[in-house]
């Protein structure tokens, strides 16, 4: 065990910070979180529909089932904090403030997408929202997160960076190298491992010699915690503690968020059959994080059925609007092909070798 491990060692034993488990959050904040979770869910359902009819191409990885991880974590953030992720990142972009229209248009490969149609599902970016992508090589985003942490330290700021990765990324060298640098140089980066149990079709216990991911932090003398990634309030409290430590003590934290993906790895992977059973998936769906959160806030009288219906209707409207917008949006024209390959493209000599700038 890392000597600096927090009290929240096991999700199963987690304490509640107040009597109703809502950490004193006000109704407006709770409703925002509910809205973000429902938006994420409905957006991904719409994405699956659009993919099925060929509106979206390429690889497409859905987040259904894991919403509590992001929405809980983001509830502890400020808008100027950085977020970087891998390729299952639609809901993270939305929750950081990118509009459903801009995200859906990107999935549709349209010019109005948040990456101009150049990135697609795996490469969503928004500088305005400090959403740093959207990266397609497993583990490749982790060193970049240390770079944002380095810049924060270099400039003496009190921002933090959340770096999301799947549990399979933990076995990459980039993970080890980054956590070592972050701890060595005291960089304000919070590494959140979304342990959804499967790296594509390979179960975690078939891929790692050590089951408990949070224990890996001990190798870097880094604080760590296990969070229940199916419980939005628990995610928030664990991440809030890490964020506070990062802002004040400039210390990184490793958080293992135990969660479960309800869909296949990507759109080409069936929900169950090869590497997991239907029963297993159904069992986890019983712990649906959105249903759980709804029940929790209803129980203490902070959400009525009418209010829930209103939020859901609003989310449906926004998602439908996003899909209609994306459908109608223009494709990037041929003039976009060579745009933004280079920031300083007006140079001496030739930058391209396909005849484009032959004089």
């Amino acid at each position: 065990m890392a000597k600096s491990k927090t009290a929240l060692q096991n999700a199963e034993e987690k304490p509640s910070s107040d009597s109703n488990g809502l950490d004193g959050l006000d109704k407006a904040k709770l409703h925002t979180m509910l809205y973000q979770m429902l938006l994420g869910r409905r957006f991904e359902e719409k994405t699956a529909e659009a993919y099925a009819i060929g509106k979206i191409g390429g690889f497409c990885h859905l987040y259904i089932g894991q919403e509590a991880v992001t929405i809980g974590a983001f509830a502890a953030l400020r808008p100027d904090d950085y977020v970087i992720s891998a390729y299952r990142e639609h809901v993270q972009a939305l929750s950081k403030g990118v509009t459903p229209r801009a995200v859906m248009a990107e999935l549709f490969g349209k010019a109005d997408g948040c990456s101009g149609g150049k990135g697609g599902s795996m490469h969503l970016y928004s500088k305005e929202h400090n959403f740093m992508g959207g990266w397609g090589i497993v583990g490749g985003q982790i060193p970049l997160a240390t770079g944002f942490g380095w810049a924060i330290k270099y400039r003496g700021e009190d921002r933090v960076c959340l770096c999301f990765m799947g549990e399979a990324a933990v076995n990459q060298g980039a993970f080890h190298e980054s956590l070592n640098m972050a701890a060595l140089w005291k960089l304000p980066v919070i590494f959140i491992v979304e342990n959804n149990r499967f790296g594509m079709g390979t179960a975690w216990e078939r891929a790692s010699s050590l089951y408990d991911i949070s224990q890996k932090a001990s190798a870097y003398d880094m604080p760590s915690a296990v969070a229940d990634g199916m419980d939005v309030m628990h995610m928030r409290s664990v991440v809030a503690e890490a964020v506070e430590r990062a802002r004040t003590e400039k210390t990184p934290t490793l958080i293992e968020a135990r969660c479960y993906r309800f869909m296949g790895h990507s759109m080409s992977d069936p929900v169950h059959g090869v590497y997991r059973t239907k029963e297993e998936v159904e069992q986890h769906k019983e712990k649906d994080p959105i249903r759980r959160f709804i029940d929790q806030i209803k129980e203490v009288g902070l959400l009525t059925e009418e209010e829930l219906q209103e939020v859901d209707a609003r989310v449906h409207r926004e998602v439908d609007d996003a899909a209609e917008f994306a459908d109608a949006a223009p494709e990037p024209g041929p003039e976009a092909l060579y745009r933004n390959v280079y920031a300083s493209g007006d140079v001496n000599g030739r930058l391209y070798f396909d005849g484009r700038d032959r004089t």
Partner: protein, 326 residues
Amino acid sequence: MAIITYREALNQALAEEMERDENVFLMGEEVGLYNGAYKVSKGLLDRFGELRIVDTPITELGFAGLGVGAAMVGLRPVIEFMTHNFAMLAWDQVFNSAAKVYYMSEGQFNCPIVFRGPSGAAIQLSAQHSQALESTYSHFPGLKVCIPSTPADAKGLLKAAIRDNDPVVFLEGEMLYAMKGEVPDEPDFIVPLGVADVKREGTDVSIITHGKMVHTCLQAAAKMEKDGISAEIVDLRSLRPLDMEAILRSVHKTNRVIYAEEGWPYVGIGAQIVDMIQSEAFDMLDAPVGRVTQADVPMPYAKQLEKLAKPSVERIIAACDAVLYR
């Protein structure tokens, strides 16, 4: 103009750019306390402190990626690889992150970073430490690549690379660090990317080359002069962007061309240049374009074998003789 070494020229470029822009920092193995494995960063830790001259663990993928992230949010990292052989461990970050982020984000995040360090063979370092990697780097759109052959070019190009808003791969010559030459003193002296330099004027044959092969070619040209052959040497200095017009000017002048490089032949820089010459100046050629490269084998250790593997003055002269039908 002062006469200084190639390593001092690089040191001056770093110091001047760090003085000029507080966003510039140098990060890499042994760059601080040790003053650099090749002493390029000598004295900079004392001058700029630990936040700007940063000693790293041996973790190339990690610190290269850290640099890319820092560049995405407006810093201007200079990442030193002790040699570019070790940079291969970091290539995911160079090729997949640095080279692509500006395009993938449709211009939201640019990446003003320099990846520098020695490249190419030294003496008896054998296969893993003797590699010319410029053709690999030049392959990727999104990257810029330069490779200086003299102290003045080293200083001027490094300053231009640091000021550039794109990722620049900067390939130094391990065998050139001690080489001396005249370097302009003006603080704003730069050598722009994409501008070749005629290192020797000539009329009979053009030798197009880059990096430390420039010096092997100069030796060959001096020998050929004794036989009454006037060779022109065009030092590309940047490989991407590429000063193709300078190549074509020389082709038009001599009508006979060879390309000499340190790297392997297959899909080498020369292969690309030959293709461009035949497509753009076919009618100007009096002979097929020749090439001189390293032997197509991993670099051996034994002195005699290493000598056989490396491009040499003799092979350059032989290639020139071939295009001159001598």
